[in-house]
């Protein structure tokens, strides 16, 4: 199963509890992580994800952009998105 499919198959709870049904692994994410993870799963661009964070949390765009990139990097480390995966700016 490809890693992009793995992201699509994640069971993401409202509480931020995430279950990967393929590997049995579980994760927790905070409220901002939840927004980013769902947006990534839906194929949103980084601009759109930053917009969503601005709308939800009134965050500063520059900080949000850097943190989205850090978050994607962390997901890569867990094998949930492919090594070559990049969100479009």
């Amino acid at each position: 199963m490809s890693q992009s499919n793995q992201l699509a198959n994640l069971a993401i709870s409202e509480t931020g509890f995430v279950f990967d049904p393929t590997t049995g692994a579980t994760f927790t994410v905070n409220a901002t992580g939840l927004v980013v993870l769902r947006a990534l799963r839906d194929g949103s661009s980084i601009d759109r994800i930053v917009e969503l964070l601005d709308e939800e949390f009134a965050s500063a765009s520059k900080v949000a952009r850097d943190e989205v990139r850090d978050f994607v990097h962390a997901l890569r480390g867990h094998g949930l998105v492919p090594t070559e995966f990049e969100v479009e700016s």
């Binding site: 199963m1 198959n9 069971a11 279950f19 049904p21 393929t22 590997t23 049995g24």
Partner: protein, 355 residues
């Protein structure tokens, strides 16, 4: 039609549990009115003996290795007392005895659903590489050794680190010859020769429980990932996962061997996502009740097959169903222990809804 009586072995339920208690719990689900569940134990302190809500009656058995004649005579005695319709053996070491006694059991009116002796040998650790070739499954590099002399040169075929395994049980990871020799002697003292050397593969260990129909078909299977592993390598918690490739491994095994009966496949998913077959256990695993809770009740299907029925294949199961074991102090009476020690049996008042 008379309500059936199903006997189950393997009532040990310590930190290295036998499957009997899990099988009993599965049989209780969907049991027909009047159905009796008989525990067959090898030790007076097997915890399942004292699980009053699960077991109707309990009888002690002699070890099958002592004498097959004595073993069968004991089963005949129990059959006279409670009228057994089906026996579900759950331990590796007793399978050869049950397989070779099927005709005698059948003549008593006792049904079983077991692999053939050839199938049992085919999936043994010593023959796993051949089975892998036959079924098109990857198997870690392995070698069978019978002496320290052979062991000293085995790294030419299977590089360190590797596992030193007994024919029936036990695996020790070793990184050099000194460790390998110590592990070899330990395994030989417990299980004799041959000893299996198997390459260590880095990755995630996954398990599948399943049931083959004896004609190459898979009647049901559930994959599981262990979440907590004890120091004995046993799963103390686990979760059902959705992994079609892992189910395909079980299907290929069943098709190639025409496996008849329950089994557990142990695989490693290596870092490149390939599945490597580590072991096939020829019986239900101790976590069998997780599969039942996920919607695939294999013990009930085995009982139906042993009675000549043809249960439907069970394809759907709940993903994300978990088990978390608990260590609990059961309160028992000295009278029950006295009965099991002195008479080798405990007959209990019939369970509600089962009498």
């Amino acid at each position: 039609m008379r309500a059936k009586t199903i006997a189950v072995t393997g009532m040990n339920a310590t930190d290295n549990p036998a499957p009997g208690v899990g099988v009993m719990r599965s049989l209780r689900e969907g049991a027909l009115p009047g159905e009796q569940h008989i525990g067959l134990a090898y030790d007076a302190l097997d915890p399942g003996i004292y699980a009053k809500d699960l077991v109707s009656d309990v009888f002690l058995l002699p070890y099958p290795s002592s004498s097959l004649e004595v073993y069968l005579a004991r089963l005949e005695y129990i059959h006279e007392r409670v009228g057994i319709d089906v026996i579900i053996p759950t331990l590796d070491a007793e399978l050869p005895a049950f397989i070779s006694s099927q005709a005698e059991l059948r003549s008593m009116g006792i049904g079983t659903f077991l692999p053939t002796r050839e199938q049992l040998d085919l999936r043994s650790k010593a023959n796993l590489a051949d089975l892998g070739r036959r079924a098109g499954l990857d198997v870690p590099e392995a070698a069978v050794v019978t002496s320290v002399h052979e062991l000293a040169r085995v790294h030419e075929r299977v590089p360190y680190p590797f596992f030193v395994k007994g024919v029936f049980y036990g695996a020790k990871l070793v990184t050099c010859l000194d460790e390998a020799i110590a592990a070899f002697h330990h395994v030989v003292a417990q299980w004799g020769v041959p000893v299996i050397v198997q390459a260590a593969v880095a990755g995630e260990e996954l398990n599948v429980i399943g049931l083959g129909d004896g004609e190459g078909g898979l009647l049901g299977a559930v994959p599981m990932k262990k979440l907590v592993i004890t120091d004995k390598g046993k799963g103390w918690a686990g979760i059902t996962i959705k992994d079609p490739e892992l189910l395909a491994v079980a299907e290929r095994f069943v098709k190639a061997s025409r496996w008849r009966g329950p089994f557990e496949v142990e695989v490693i998913r290596d870092r490149r996502g390939r599945y490597q077959l580590l072991e096939i256990n020829p019986r239900l695993p101790a976590w069998v009740h997780l599969a039942t809770a996920a919607g695939v009740n294999l013990p009930r299907a085995i009982a139906e097959l042993a009675l000549g029925g043809r249960p439907k294949a069970m394809r759907d199961y709940d993903v994300g169903k978990m088990f978390v074991r608990i260590s609990i102090d059961q309160i028992a009476s000295i009278e029950d222990m006295e009965r099991i020690v002195m008479a080798g049996e405990v007959r209990k008042p019939r369970l509600a809804g089962a009498a």
